[in-house]
């Protein structure tokens, strides 16, 4: 967990000082540098080498600030409204949509100036958001620890073989997708999640823990504390790099989630737009799917073979209305916590 209260307070004070310093130094706006607000794992595992290429091509240096989660990023973006210390913000689509409701935060995408914009797949863009990748939300498991070495449906996770073996995301992770999947399984849906929460209550015995930190859950999967983690496809790659063999399956219903970039209002929109154009470029998207095991958003790039394996079958995938989720997630979480609390 990267967020510790003491540190964040200190960071807030520090950020204030930085802002004050920035406001008395107007020349800094002319500097050829942009700052990304990004998850550290995404930066280290994916963007860092690409950003170096970007700097070489454009002469624009890339610096970073770290966010622990999309929502925490939103808190930061809001706190530095008008004078952001970052220019490009990596976030989940739903969170970007929420941020867009405040006209002071996000700059509109300069669609005309983005040569690659027209190549982005359907659903991957909005007026303030460009997806960097997509992924299915599914079951990542250790074949060596799972009976029969294979999982093919969500329903199997409710079976007695998985007692105390599951790491499932808490509602704050993946914006409540776990609740929505359970709701659909139980005959409910986004308008009625109660059956889903009842369904999750029935899996309590099998859940070792509900994770709010993906490194913690990954570690538990790697150590065999759990044999199943419900998460995104990038986990397969991250664990493979550590020498842990895992498989992923995205059974029906398989939510598809977009994550990507937004441009923050703060005076460097033009340089930020150049960066966005790189993110959605054919070249970067190829790396994103091949190296990071995520879905490419540029239609000229085919999903890497490994990634294609984890993609849901035709007709199994689902998408949800992010606005509705944004409005209701708080209430779902409260119900969920009441149901699964100790």
């Amino acid at each position: 967990m990267r967020r510790i209260f003491g540190w964040s307070r200190l960071a807030a004070v520090f950020a204030t000082l930085v802002m004050v310093a920035a406001s008395v130094a107007p020349a800094s706006a002319q500097e050829k540098k942009i700052t990304l607000l990004i998850w550290s794992s995404t930066w280290n595992g994916l963007i860092k080498p690409l950003a170096e290429q970007f700097t070489k091509d454009t002469g624009i240096a890339v610096d970073i600030e770290v966010e622990a989660s999309s929502m925490e990023g939103l808190v930061k973006v809001q706190a530095m409204r008008g004078k952001p210390t970052a220019d490009v913000w990596f976030t989940a689509q739903g969170v970007a949509e929420r941020a867009a409701s405040d006209p002071g935060l996000l700059a509109p995408m300069p669609v005309d100036k983005l040569s690659n914009w027209k190549d982005v797949i359907l659903g991957g863009t909005s007026s303030t958001f460009a997806a960097a990748y997509y992924y299915p939300f599914g079951i990542v498991y250790r074949p060596d620890l799972v009976p029969g070495g294979k999982i093919s449906s969500w329903e199997e996770l409710w079976g007695p073989a998985f007692e105390n073996k599951l790491a499932l995301p808490a509602p704050s992770f993946f914006s409540g997708r776990m609740i929505l999947v359970a709701a659909q399984m139980a005959g409910g849906g986004i308008d009625n999640v109660d059956p889903g929460i009842a369904k999750l209550k029935a899996i309590k015995k099998n859940v070792a823990f509900w994770f709010t930190s993906d490194p913690q859950a990954r570690k538990a999967l790697a150590q065999g504390e759990v044999s199943v983690m419900v998460t995104s496809s990038s986990t397969v790659k991250t664990l493979a790099d550590q020498g842990v063999t895992v498989k992923m399956v995205s059974p029906k219903p398989a939510p598809i989630i977009f994550e990507g970039v937004t441009i923050l209002k703060g005076g460097k929109e033009e340089m930020a737009a150049q960066f966005v154009n790189y993110v959605i470029s054919q070249q970067w998207q190829k790396t994103i799917t091949e190296v990071w095991n995520m879905g490419p958003v540029n239609k000229n790039v085919a999903p890497a073979g490994k990634f294609a394996d984890v993609l849901p079958k035709d007709g199994d995938s689902v998408t949800f209305n992010e606005t509705t989720i944004n409005e209701r997630l708080g209430g779902w979480t409260e119900k969920f916590n009441q149901a699964i609390g100790q």
Binding site: M1, F209, E225, G330, G341
Partner: protein
């Protein structure tokens, strides 16, 4: 130019002013209304958020869980910490004192996250304890991802604060009082029960208050060791921000939990003053 001593207060006052301002802002927010699904808030001032939190079963359960766990953690910390503090204050063995102190200070040096992961390695389903149990042919027990794990982690975190606070109080009890008691026929145990324990109550209450405050505000250990099941105030506030993003309502929730925590601490403070009052200034003459 002579330095003026009160100038030394300036950094502290500035820091306090910043906190006070932040706090005022946060209380102000709690009276506004959030626009659903957005990050926006609007007026006019309303108590609706407070009503909503007070009516929420999760908030009520969280308050009960938080107070119950904080109480339990404080009690366990005191039971473990008192003997350690006493050893540090009175043991004639320098080696023993150093060992205890080292053990306590080392926990200060290791970061919270590191410690939480270390506890997972010990307490986990396949952790050291459970592997040992299984090797002995016993059935494993759930020690992590529940209240047990959180309690162990937080107690371990609180121990040094408790011990060092109590230590100062114990050191203030003149050794000659213990000798006087033994001289009058009291066994070691009687000396402890009749002299040391009652005289350490003000210090004990201070140390317990500090631990209680620490336990009330526990975040990291419930987050990492609680497996998403242990709902203490800080975690619920955090999760509510991340899912609801209703800042006004979260601010109201945080304000209410703060009031609750302050009330609990005020009660402890009253207890301390009561106990200290009985023998106020006792140390002065002796």
């Amino acid at each position: 130019m002579r330095a003026r001593p009160y100038l030394l207060l300036v950094p502290a006052l500035a820091a306090l002013a910043i906190f006070a301002a932040a706090f005022a802002l946060f209380v102000t927010v709690s009276f506004s209304t959030a626009t659903p699904g957005t990050v926006l808030t609007h007026g006019p001032a309303t108590l609706a958020n407070y009503r909503s939190v007070l009516a929420s079963p999760l908030a009520r359960d969280t308050a009960i869980t938080t107070l119950r766990l904080a109480g339990l953690m404080t009690l366990l910390t005191a039971l473990l910490g008192y003997p350690l503090a006493y050893v540090l204050a009175r043991s004639p063995s320098r080696l023993l004192r150093r060992t205890v102190l080292f053990g306590l200070v080392v926990t200060f040096l290791s970061g919270g996250v590191t410690r939480a992961y270390a506890w997972l390695i010990i307490l986990g389903n396949k952790g050291l304890i459970n592997q040992t149990l299984v090797a002995l042919g016993l059935s494993p027990v759930k020690l992590a991802y529940n209240e047990t794990g959180v309690t162990i982690g937080v107690v371990h975190f609180l121990l040094p604060f408790f011990v060092l606070t109590l230590l100062a109080a114990l050191k203030n009890i003149p050794l000659s009082l213990e000798e006087a008691a033994r001289n009058l026929g009291a066994s070691r145990w009687q000396v402890f029960i009749r002299v040391v324990l009652p005289l350490s109550i003000p210090g004990l209450v201070s140390a317990a208050s500090l631990s209680f405050a620490g336990a009330l505000s526990a975040f990291l250990f419930p987050e990492l060791l609680g497996g998403g099941r242990v709902h203490m105030a800080s975690n619920v506030i955090y999760e509510t921000i991340l899912t609801d993003f209703n800042l006004p309502r979260v601010a109201a929730m945080a304000a209410l939990f703060l009031v609750l925590a302050l009330a609990a601490l005020a009660l402890l403070g009253l207890l301390q003053r009561r106990s200290a009052h009985l023998w106020a200034g006792a140390g002065a003459k002796t």
